[in-house]
Symmetry: C2
Subunit: 334 residues, 2 copies
């Protein structure tokens, strides 16, 4: 692992609050670091900027590969920065480890937006576990907010787990789809549709327009079958052509309408409060497991017993209890 | 909570090994119990019967409500018991808490099979959390195996999380579908299709036959787009009419073919070994979290700090670290 120089906590905090993008990027790198010595520093930075976070609209965008997420974000992002918003784009790509490295990929994909000074694009590093990526993305989002960005787009690939993580950190969740591609190939599951606040059919241009309109009708009907959401919002179905910049303003108007409606019933805050509580429990689980699995006695005991477990000679629940008890006893002997 | 009398460990173990269904049922009730005093006893019983478990073919069956899972299990189960197999059916229904109580529901649904002495049907109790249900189902499966059942069917509703849990405890995973219902309504996601060893289109009878054949072709084509599985098995697409008992023998032949093929490459054992290892880690996570959240100091500290977390005044990662450290310190002070 590459050794990089670190700054004192205050330098990160001041840099971020003054909107210094170099410092912001270094702070996100710090947050993403898996080096144990970085974690305490990262935590400190996040705690310090927390009071300055929260002043953005957080939008999750998902859809399977090929649906045109990058083109959509490029077009939609352009619209937003031209309206005067400060835009940060964060991406989670759980598949990037297996396929190509996503960092260059994403930057190349969103060429115009990434060269636009009014936008900040930050892809997740490849090779971090999904749970890890999403925890880091949440912190990166807060850092971006503290740095003054007032719209955050979080992009993820529509394959299941990562949507749940992103849904847990955004205000508005948008699913991009294509018309007529067949749902089994689009990989869309009921669960993801249920999580969405809007379903946008992309590539509604040229020969696709008729199919897109038809799909819009069908999905509108299908959405009626879902139970009413707690916040009273009826998920909308829209069409757009990101490449031709058609329909993007309507999408932004819809999101503004959502935000207004939610603010009236205080739901934005309620939702964020619940997200903070869930974050607490996620992090407790993470810390408990990491202190357990980093314990040297546990490690060697696990190694020693694993073959018996895998051979079915020893009970997993028995060993689990033994190890957890040994972990707790080990701590108490210190 | 109802107080029920408990037996000594050996009485459960002997009863199960002799195939006593009353004792088996009481042991599953014990395993499902959330009473702290039952957990140690339950764990002991499971550990004792573990060496006698494993001698069954474990089949997971999923599909959204309305696809005909009960009718399928009733018909398929009848076929299996008539071939001389001893069949146990376990069901996981994460939605049962919200809708109707599943216990009577399931028994009524599989009326013929539940009155057949050669089969044993055991629904999960309503109101247990999903993680809990699936852990208990795994243990119930092992108890059934030790009691001599040599085919276990585990039924779950196709809504996402529970499939992953069931996939983690079975040898063969079967997805029931309907022809022409529209995938968005069937709620089938790519992830579930990827997990499946077979996709069975049910209700292929009367006017549905043409649509079922068409769907079979389409799904067969679609499955070719998925990457080859580690075990070399090509998932099959079949049609059946559970209500008319058509196509069920072919499904059983396919499963037998799967088992033969997997045994030749030792994959049944490899898969079960990996499942045991995952079970260990799941249970470690469960025990760590439960000892944490049951701790009185943690409980009161959580209650005290939660409003500040929810108001965004305190950092979730900071409090998580504080609490986990306090938990570990608290233990060491004892």
């Amino acid at each position: 692992m590459k050794i990089t120089s670190r700054l004192p906590v205050e330098a990160y905090v001041e840099g971020i609050l003054s909107g210094d993008r170099v410092i912001l990027s270094r702070a996100i790198t710090l947050v993403e670091s898996t080096l144990p010595q970085d974690q305490f520093l990262a935590e400190n930075v996040v705690e310090k900027i927390l009071p300055y976070s929260g002043k953005s609209i957080r939008i999750g965008i998902t859809g399977v590969p090929g649906v045109g997420k990058s083109t959509f974000i490029e077009g939609f992002g352009k619209l937003l920065v031209e309206k005067g918003y400060k835009l940060a784009v964060l991406t989670i790509d759980p598949s990037s480890q297996k396929s190509h490295g996503s960092i260059l990929g994403d930057k190349t994909r969103m060429e115009k937006l990434s060269s636009d000074k009014r936008a900040y694009i930050r892809p997740s590093p490849a090779g971090v576990s999904l749970g890890g990526v999403s925890a880091k993305t949440r912190e990166a989002m807060l850092l971006c907010e503290a740095a003054g960005f007032n719209i955050i787009l979080i992009e993820t690939v529509g394959v299941g787990q990562s949507e749940i993580a992103v849904k847990g950190m955004v205000d508005f969740f948008l699913l991009l789809m294509l018309a007529g591609a067949g749902d089994e190939l689009q990989g869309i599951k009921k669960g993801i549709i249920e999580m969405c606040d809007a379903l946008v059919i992309n590539k509604a241009d040229g020969e696709n327009i008729t199919a897109a309109k038809k799909a819009k009708r069908e999905y509108t009907n299908a959405l009626h079958l879902f139970p009413v959401k707690e916040n009273g919002w009826n998920p909308k179905v829209l069409t757009c052509s990101a490449i031709d910049q058609i329909g993007l303003s309507e999408i932004w108007q819809m999101i503004e309408g959502f935000v207004d409606q939610m603010k009236r019933i205080n739901y934005l805050d309620i939702n964020r409060s619940n997200q903070l509580e869930n974050w607490l429990h996620d992090h407790i689980g993470y810390l408990l497991k990491s202190s357990f699995y980093e314990n040297e006695e546990i490690k060697s005991s696990l190694t020693k017993n694993l073959s018996e477990i895998k051979a079915g000679k020893k009970s997993p629940i028995g060993l689990a209890r033994e190890l957890v008890e040994a972990f707790i006893d080990g701590i108490s002997r210190k």
